[in-house]
Symmetry: C2
Subunit: 322 residues, 2 copies
DNA sequence: CTGAAAGCGCTAACAA
DNA sequence: TTGTTAGCGCTTTCAG
């Protein structure tokens, strides 16, 4: 394999390692001719610096790690896409780790990213256990929590006000006269789940709905699972509206509604969450999380080395399904 | 930040660096008590090995790099998801680089992955320029091309027979009596584009269709772009069927058809390509690329250090839209 | 079974 | 403006 190293270049150019290093790092103190000669050589030989060595020496890795729950979920793939775009502009590599929707996976994912030594971790946490995040804090490893709010923890965060998101959906359902809403939710311990449920009930009851009529089901966050649930239970349980934890699950519900010969929107209102581009295609009414703006802000935070908690507000996007 | 190193452990355990290293690498020649003591210490201190140092010393990085065109395209996010899953099982990290749909981006992406030193690159190439791949070959950097077939190049490949895929769509359109098919395709120089078009024409004409009636348009691979095209041109150009380069574009076409008040399938047949899970939800007839099986095979290839070209065949999945 | 020495590619600090 | 030295954390080799 025989990678080309600084040394190779130094020898060919008849200078020392350091001179080459200086040129590569754009240091001012190199004679123009020497610089030129080295630059030509670098281009000619196709030299690629070894980030590992640089990191070992205590430098930046120019890598950022991203931990998401499931890259197949379009919310996360759009998130990673935005991060990729912003990172690309800044010449950063993105290392992605998928935790397979498991809390335990989140620990493993972080561990794996740490061993490759990234400059910063962006974590979209499962959110109901925090020891591993506390650990990062203790070790002084920089990270930002994306999406989830930990009120009592001093983590840096870019988060979204999920209670408001739930409220918007609840109010809408009440306005539409839904009397037996079905909430297809994710893991019952996740803060996001709890906030969305709490918000929904708040919005629904404040607008006149009856709390006892709200059915909440916790399912695996996967469209196939939500599709199956809706197909099997919607009619027997006589629900007249569905609010989903995210668009990914709503997509399954939509599929099932079509299968049942029901028209989403006309007969059974359906609201998703996230507003991935899929939602627009499906005509899905949903609660929008402004991913792009959040990621943009995230990078500003990184660059300015700001700390703190930045809150974004969701909004409801009305389309055909509700 | 003060990461915990081998040395820290060695000092605490009153042994040398080497003994600790041996324990961590599961070498047999360590006294059981010593091993136990060190393992306890490792767990207690939360030691995480530094992959960079290991790599520098000439070891494996346990990282694989993946270059895709656009992670927001569900085909690629599913691909990365599958790779993640397989990699996770094997304790490998996945470094993703998005080339922003640009050829030039592909070079940059590869460059960036090489500087972080991955053991292997998985590249879903744009496919109409190959110098950078030839370069990898020359340097002896292991990589596998995913999806695209380079007949005359000795690259390792897991590829899909796109001509057959196109043929299946073309035959279907001819069988359905489509007389003015519209082909919404990607970059005109990509081999995959060319194969799918060539295959379509072959299948279409062999089944009785007239070649001159086939309209081919090359668009940016993005659902918004295809949606706009269909909305603006479908009716004026009197097309009666649409075959898309992939499901991502088909999704846009579907959206536009709904907007025009046309029923996909009944009035205007629509066929996509890839069979991402989205397609199932949308009831989209499509040409299936067996991603999971391909990735599975890819990892077998990696493990056995096999070389060569492995071909998969697409199949048509009939759903509502055609 | 355990340890000492050397060196991977790079850069910070100092020296010339 | 350029070079020398040392060392980041780890593993390979060789010596106890």
């Amino acid at each position: 394999m025989n990678r080309i190293t600084l040394k190779d270049i130094a020898i060919k150019a008849n200078v020392s390692l350091m001179t080459v290093s200086r040129v590569l790092n754009n240091r001012p103190d190199v004679k123009p001719e020497t610089r030129k000669k080295i630059q030509d050589l670098v281009a000619e030989l196709g030299y690629i610096p070894d980030t590992n060595a640089r990191v070992l020496k205590g430098g930046q890795s120019n890598r950022i790690g991203v931990v998401v729950s499931d890259i197949k979920n379009p919310f996360y793939s759009e998130l990673v896409g935005e991060i990729e775009d912003q990172a690309g502009i800044r010449n950063l590599s993105v290392v992605v780790a998928d935790n397979n929707k498991r809390m335990e996976g989140e620990r493993a994912a972080i561990q794996s990213l740490l061993s490759t030594f990234v400059d910063l971790l962006i974590i979209a946490p499962e959110g109901y256990r925090t020891e591993h995040l506390d650990n990062l804090l203790r070790k002084g490893i920089p990270f930002v929590s994306f999406g989830v709010h930990f009120e009592k923890k001093p983590y840096n965060e870019i988060w979204i006000e999920d209670i408001l998101g739930g409220e918007l959906a609840g109010k809408r359902f009440s306005d539409l006269g839904i009397v037996r809403p079905l909430l297809l939710m994710g893991h019952p311990k996740k803060t996001t789940t709890l906030s969305r449920i709490g918000g929904f009930i708040k919005g629904y009851t404040e607008a006149g709905g009856t709390r006892d009529n709200v059915s909440i089901v916790h399912l695996e966050v996967d469209w196939r699972v939500s599709a199956r649930y809706v197909a099997e239970r919607l009619l027997t349980d006589r629900h007249d509206g569905i609010f989903c934890y995210n668009d990914w699950m709503a997509m399954g519900a939509l599929r099932a509604l079509h299968g049942l010969g029901l028209s989403p929107g006309k007969q059974i209102p359906l609201i998703g969450y996230d507003d991935v581009s899929l939602a627009e295609v499906l005509g899905l009414t949903t609660i929008k999380i402004p991913i792009r703006e959040m990621v943009h802000r995230l990078f500003l935070m990184i660059e300015k080395k700001e700390e703190g908690k930045i809150q974004f507000s969701p909004s409801i996007i009305l389309r055909e399904t509700a």
